[in-house]
């Protein structure tokens, strides 16, 4: 059944799909009809526009990025925003199969839609969208806010110590940002990069924790900034990733203390409202979508939370206790546009749209193309090298397993002859289509971190089980405030059963290592990277330490063509599908 644009608007309005603003959601149109005008279509409200980006992960070029086909949570959160994927996502947000939105927001028909719609994101394409809004609204009425995880994730970022991406942000005209992976360049480098950055870097939740420092117990960054835009005073409070010091190596932020710090957050909200008399309070956050929903319940007086960290595309805002929360996906796939109508010192209306950066439909800005070329030029030869080909889809996002992680696990096993490989459940990476060449650049897209060392050591069976429980409790905790926002660590050489709804410490069973039941008293040879597991082990094989990107690249080059099975090694006992709806229904 074909529906015309006008019919669609009526149907959509009747179904309540359009929100307050009545934007035409481009993805509902027939795929072959869609144009850049549809993507940009927006009903402006008031005088102020906030543009929001998050979790670019240094992807200055367009890429393919497939959303998860499995997104499992604690039973109480199943089917709520932040824990939706595939059909349950499409149903929740009213997205039709085969549309641009279905392609950007879900894994459904990904391979065929990728051929139809092409790559996503890229700073040159983002710039076109940002500039269009600036032209439409006036330069002084628009802010570009960045929720962080911007400086890390690709080879150009890593090899320039983050500087390539700061240049990209300055080119886009980012006004304010917060951080997470930014901090993995180390405190000193972070300070240097902030010097080069045009944007303000703010955070109310990072405090000097070094008792010998002159600044002991003082904030490391400005907690908030006040911007006058479109005749209104907007107070923007920064919230960097609260669990940086546990999720990433402590050495990068030695002497700093993180945390949610909701008590001081409440104080800054009150200060902005009562003393600074702002018209609107915005929290620019890297808490994660689920955590920020809890923040909205606990902290009062925030008008908008611009969330990040968990990489959720949020096609519609959600409102909790009067606070509106938006989140703009990841990898440069989206720009969120939030128009504010401010009258009598308060927000009286808003309109929001998550704009998909469809690189085949949006004309790139010429200066952006030049900048990307210049940033890649020193590395073109190395990063453009073809290592091999993939037979099947190589992707990253899923709760337990992904083909690209399985490939990394295979590569590490091949080099170290271990029994078990742990690969981190980061939510960033890339996607390669069946038949695609695998470039060195692609391997970095999965592994470009400042602590790439693969460690091989011995770990007792009992400890392995305990560690798995510990990681599972961070991923599947029923209380969002105890979630760290990643997916489950990926294991090669191990199969196990998991009961998500079981109490902490009792979720995992039937652990088998290479087909045999895990022996709690035996030592296993384990390789791990991107975490802290080596500190729990013994007899570290120092001579075998090598960066994960080198190990993976060498393995792919050796194999020529890779064919990774898309079959999870984890058996979920209490959930029947990858993308359950509310109530655990499939």
């Amino acid at each position: 059944m074909d529906i015309s644009r006008r019919d669609f608007l009526q149907i959509a309005a009747a179904m309540g799909l359009l929100g307050a603003g009545g934007n035409l959601m481009a993805g509902h149109k027939r795929a072959d009809e869609i144009t850049a005008t549809d993507i940009m279509d927006f009903k402006p409200v008031g005088k102020v526009s906030l543009l929001h980006i998050c979790d670019l992960h240094a992807h200055i070029k367009p890429l393919y990025w497939r959303e998860p086909s499995t997104l499992i949570s604690a039973p109480n959160l199943t089917g709520t925003p932040g824990f939706l994927c595939g059909k349950s996502f499409a149903k929740f947000y009213g997205i039709k199969p085969g549309t641009l939105d279905a392609y950007f927001d879900t894994y459904l028909n990904f391979e065929s839609l990728a051929k139809k719609f092409g790559k996503m994101g890229g700073i040159a394409h983002i710039k076109t969208v940002v500039d269009e809004v600036r032209r439409d609204r006036g330069r002084d009425n628009v802010l570009l806010l960045d929720s962080g995880d911007t400086w890390q994730g690709t080879a150009v970022a890593l090899k320039s110590g983050g500087e390539a991406i700061v240049k990209a942000q300055n080119y886009l005209g980012v006004d304010v940002m917060v951080g997470h992976w930014e901090f993995t360049y180390g405190k000193e480098r972070v300070a240097e990069l902030i010097d080069k950055l045009d944007a303000e870097f703010i955070s109310q939740n990072i405090v000097d924790n070094d008792p010998f420092s002159d600044n002991f117990e003082e904030l490391v960054f400005k907690p908030y900034t006040i911007k006058e835009v479109g005749g209104a005073k907007i107070g923007i409070i920064g919230q960097s990733f609260p669990f940086t010091s546990t999720a990433n190596p402590k050495r990068f932020t030695e002497g700093w203390s993180f945390g949610l710090r909701l008590d001081t957050l409440q104080e800054y909200v009150d200060e902005l409202r009562k003393e600074k008399k702002v018209d609107c309070v915005v929290l620019l956050s890297h808490d994660g979508f689920s955590v920020d929903q809890e923040v909205a319940r606990k902290v009062h007086g925030i008008d908008f939370i611009l969330s990040g960290h968990t990489h959720d595309p949020g096609p519609k805002p959600i409102t909790i206790d009067g606070t509106v929360i938006i989140i703009a996906g990841s990898h440069g796939k989206f720009v969120g546009r939030l128009d504010l109508d401010i009258k009598n010192k308060r927000v009286v209306g808003y309109n929001y749209k998550l704009i998909p950066i469809a690189s085949n439909l949006i004309a790139p800005d010429k200066k952006g193309i030049e900048l990307v070329d210049a940033l890649y030029a020193p590395h073109d030869k190395e990063l453009g090298r073809v290592l091999g080909k993939t037979k099947g889809l190589l992707y990253k996002r899923d709760t337990f397993y992904s083909t690209f992680d399985a490939l990394i696990g295979e590569a590490i096993h091949d080099e170290t002859d271990n029994e078990i490989t742990f690969t981190p459940g980061y939510r960033w990476g890339t996607t390669l289509l069946p038949g695609d060449d695998i470039l060195v650049d692609n391997v970095y897209e999965m592994t470009a971190i400042t602590y790439p060392e693969v460690y091989t050591f011995e770990l007792q069976g009992g400890k392995i089980a305990q560690l798995l429980e510990d990681i599972a409790d961070n991923v599947f905790n029923a209380n969002p405030l105890y979630q760290q926002g990643g997916d489950m660590s990926r294991l090669t050489g191990v199969t196990y059963d998991i009961k998500i709804g079981a109490p902490g410490g009792k979720r995992i069973g039937n652990i088998k290592v290479n087909g045999k039941p895990l022996n709690p008293t035996r030592d296993y040879v384990v390789s791990a990277w991107g975490g802290n597991l080596q500190s729990a082990g013994k007899n570290l094989r120092e001579s075998k330490i090598r960066p994960v990107y080198d190990i993976t690249s060498d393995y792919i080059a050796k194999k020529g063509t890779v064919n990774v099975p898309n079959k999870s090694n984890v058996n979920v006992l209490d959930v029947k599908c990858g993308c359950p709806k509310k109530g655990g229904l499939c």
């Binding site: 939510r427 105890y482 660590s489």
Partner: protein, 156 residues
Amino acid sequence: MQRRGFLKGLAGACALTAVGVPSVTLAAKKKPKGPNEMPYKKALEVITHGKGAVDSPKVKLVVPEIAENGAVVPVKVTVDHPMEPGNYVQEIHILASKNSNARCADLFLTPENGKAYFATRIKLGGTQEVVAVAKLGDGSYVKAHKSVKVTIGGCG
């Protein structure tokens, strides 16, 4: 603002060192040792002389949701109660529910402390509840509790 509050707290702690008998015990050893070292239930009974303590919003307990380092977990306690002669917060106790030695700190205050505020760092052997108990002017006991997760770390 936070720093000033913190310094005030330190001043309070120092003042009570001079006048009171504070004993700050770091816990988390395998076996309880000595008269003050005992499991949570027993500790609460001893501290409140068998009266028990009721949950109260008067006790404000600030701890991190997830410990950055289980060996030094910052704890701040404020009790919203007058500090006048005859009616003041007499004691503040900090307990860790699952440390084998649950008593982390016992503070004895006087009206001269000015404010019932204390900040310290405690060691947690694993994920558990941190409990702050206060003895009010009328001899009753109130408490607040919060869970602190101790983890090897998650994924980015």
